[in-house]
């Protein structure tokens, strides 16, 4: 008997007893749903945790500081910095050529006066120069906004500035807190206008030092959840580089502390988590300090892996229990169908034909239960994720996203089928050994 014919015969037997088959399939489906839902939620939780660790950026992201490495901090995720060391284009090019480096994203900073008409900075320490209460000193952080997805920044309100824009910025909760704006009130600042002033030192003809600022207007288009390095304002490279050039061109005897390094730092994305360690070592050899949550990510991944193992174990136990139901159902079927099996033998079925037919029955129930359970499990995982996402975003935190784990779905269906076939082995062998005389009522 061919496999196709055995399949048809098995399918007919299953359909002939729909109630028992349905109960068995439901048991497998529930177990598969539990298995799928738990692992999907575990993967989602893992992604959310790692995303939080990487602050929304890629897991293989490395921050390079304009400072030399601190020898006593080797191997530390966030080491203390060594002496200041500017990053110029040559250094950037060297780092870009390191094996294992995918992308190098420059970060430019500029000191800035931030003026917010109509708002008063709170606290004496926050007062700006000349006793101005509406102006504070802060730092602009400039990145290529078109690469924003690669940076560890996440939005809590509004949007990111348009790439290349010189009139749009995002602000951070730390800056807003200096004006007494905290919590959900931070969302209300989107759309308001701030004035940014890059200071520059001059010396008058009579030798008097003078500071003049290059002022620009900008609209706040979003609020990011993280402090952008040491800066409270996130903007495009264009805006910040123009301010930086203005400040750096000042008289060094008037403003010796002005930032003159073209790049305040770099954000390097390695080709994968495996490459982070070697890339960090290579960058440190070039002479710059690096930080990356690689140890933390590795630790978290280990713990999450343990959780996944436990959940997988629970899911497998559930599937195994469901498989026992298949064994029980098929053993009962073998008892009830003794005569039918005898007839099959009497008309010429080999032992293995009978075996095959029963194994296929078991496999069909397992596969069907696996498919239904996978779909149910994914739907359940999405429902739970939607609830969690709603809660997180209402708290001003980044939400969760559930992917569609195709491989997990396939593995569940295959696993349920294999377990079911395994569970059907004993009943199938028992059926195969039944003598043909069962067909004859003696």
């Amino acid at each position: 008997m061919s496999w196709a014919d055995a399949f048809r015969l098995a399918a007919r037997s299953v359909v002939r007893r729909p109630g028992r088959a349905a109960l068995t399939v439901v048991a497998v489906a529930l177990a598969a749903a539990l298995f799928t839902a738990m692992l999907t939620m575990a993967a989602t939780a893992q992604g959310r945790v790692l995303n939080q660790l990487a602050k929304g950026g890629p897991l293989a992201g490395i921050q390079v500081a304009a400072a030399a490495p601190n020898p006593s901090q080797a191997g530390v995720d966030n080491p203390a910095l060594g002496p200041s060391k500017p990053i110029d284009q040559t250094a950037l090019d060297r780092i870009a050529k390191i094996r294992g480096v995918d992308v190098v994203l420059p970060v430019v900073t500029a000191q800035s006066l931030v003026a917010w008409p109509g708002h008063t900075a709170t606290g004496g320490n926050d007062a700006g120069p000349s006793g101005s209460t509406g102006v504070v000193f802060d730092q602009l952080v400039g990145i290529d906004i078109s690469d924003i997805g690669d940076f560890p920044v996440t939005l809590s309100a509004g949007r990111f500035p348009s790439p290349g824009s010189t009139t749009q910025v995002d602000v951070t909760p730390v800056l807003l807190a200096r004006y007494g704006i905290t919590g959900t009130a931070t969302r209300s600042v989107v759309g308001s206008q701030i004035i940014l002033g890059a200071p520059r030192g001059f010396r008058s003809s009579d030798g008097t030092p003078v500071f003049r600022s290059r002022w620009t207007k900008a609209t706040i288009v979003g609020v990011v959840t993280q402090q952008a390095g040491s800066g409270g304002v996130l903007a495009s490279l264009s805006l910040v580089q123009a301010d930086q050039r203005w400040t750096a061109a000042g008289d060094p005897t008037v403003d010796p502390d002005a930032v003159r390094s073209p790049y305040a730092g770099l954000f390097v994305i390695a080709s994968g988590l495996d490459a982070v360690s070697s890339v960090r070592a290579a960058i440190e050899t070039v002479g710059y300090s690096t930080s990356a949550p690689e140890n933390l990510i590795a630790t978290v991944e280990r713990y999450v892996h343990v959780v996944e193992i436990v959940l997988t174990g629970i899911g497998v136990i559930a599937l195994a229990i469901a498989s026992l139901g298949i064994t029980n159902a098929l053993l009962a079927a073998v008892r009830e169908r003794r005569r039918e099996i005898g007839i099959l033998k009497a008309v010429g079925a080999r032992d293995r034909d009978v075996l095959r037919s029963f194994l296929i029955e078991a496999g069909v129930m397992g596969a069907l239960g696996g498919v239904i359970g996978t779909v149910l499990g994914l739907a359940l995982a999405r429902l739970v994720a939607a609830i969690v996402d709603g809660y997180l975003t209402s708290q001003g935190l980044a939400g969760v996203h559930v992917s569609t784990p195709y491989l997990l779905g396939i593995a569940t269906v295959v696993g349920a089928t294999v377990l079911a076939v395994g569970a059907g082995t004993i009943p199938a062998r028992r059926a195969a050994r039944l003598p043909a005389r069962e067909a004859v009522e003696l």
Binding site: A4, D102, R212, T216, A242
Partner: protein
């Protein structure tokens, strides 16, 4: 190939494809990017203490060029305040004009009246220096140069302080000793305004008649133009000056649009 073996191969192929697409991530070439930029309006303020914001509640925010920048110029404007406290026109030529030129200013405001008047700079000298200043600003490519004239003597920043003898040491106000009589200074004010008007016309600049604006404000009981000591503009005074410059710029822009 038997049906069973075909099916098995098909399943394996699908699995392999899924694993490859799940594991693979697009690699990008190592790259760094910067973008060009350039504002449409570059505004440079040339002036003295009033332009720096002395006397206002919050100089950085309330100085009249800052207010003019915020209220009267487009979003994509860069503003540089080149003003130096107590600057004369002669000092501005060397200290401030080069910055306007190097910044490629497209709009320049010039209000340099108090220091020269109180220093006793002769009107002819003032006129010649002012013309030189305005011409150099135009020569650098500035499309619009607005120049303010002298407000009435009683509202001239510094004069009431000098007259009252309330000048503090910190603000650098230089009072003439002896202080000329009001009638004499008023005549100087009128002569200066005449010279400013002529120089504005000759250089193609736009005159901002602060004298009339201030006189009208005082006549209508507006807020004090000067801060209590009389040495500098008040916040309200800075606002009035900013509005006067703003109104004039809008008028010129409408006319040329």
């Amino acid at each position: 190939m038997t049906p069973g073996r075909r099916t098995g191969l098909g399943v394996v192929s699908v699995l392999v494809i899924l694993v490859l697409t799940a594991c693979g991530s697009p690699s990008s070439t190592t790259t760094t990017r910067t973008q060009p930029s350039g504002p449409r309006t570059v505004y440079v303020a040339v002036g003295g203490s009033d332009s720096v914001g002395y006397g206002t509640d919050d100089p950085l925010l309330d100085a009249w060029p800052q207010q003019f920048f915020r209220r009267s110029l487009p979003l994509q404007t860069v503003f540089i305040n080149a003003a130096v406290p107590r600057s004369t026109v002669a000092e501005a030529i060397t200290d401030q004009a080069p910055l306007a030129r190097s910044s490629r200013a497209t709009v320049v405001t010039v209000w340099l009246v108090s220091a020269d008047l109180l220093d006793g700079t002769p009107v002819t000298t003032y006129a010649s220096q002012l013309l030189q200043l305005l011409t150099s600003l135009h020569g650098a490519g500035a499309t619009t140069v607005l120049v303010g004239n002298v407000p009435p003597l009683d509202e001239l920043p510094g004069y009431p302080a000098c007259r009252a003898g309330t000048v503090g040491g910190g603000r650098g106000l230089r009072c003439p000793v002896p202080l000329p009589a009001p009638a004499s200074l008023s005549a100087d004010v009128a002569a200066y305004n005449q010279a400013i008007a002529v120089d504005a016309t000759r250089s193609g600049s736009v005159l901002v008649d602060l004298r009339t604006a201030v006189t009208s404000s005082v006549a209508h009981g507006g807020q004090p133009f000067l801060e209590p000591s009389g040495a500098d503009l008040s916040t309200a005074g800075s606002t009035l000056v900013a509005e006067a410059f703003g109104d004039r710029l809008r008028a010129v822009t409408r006319h040329t649009a």
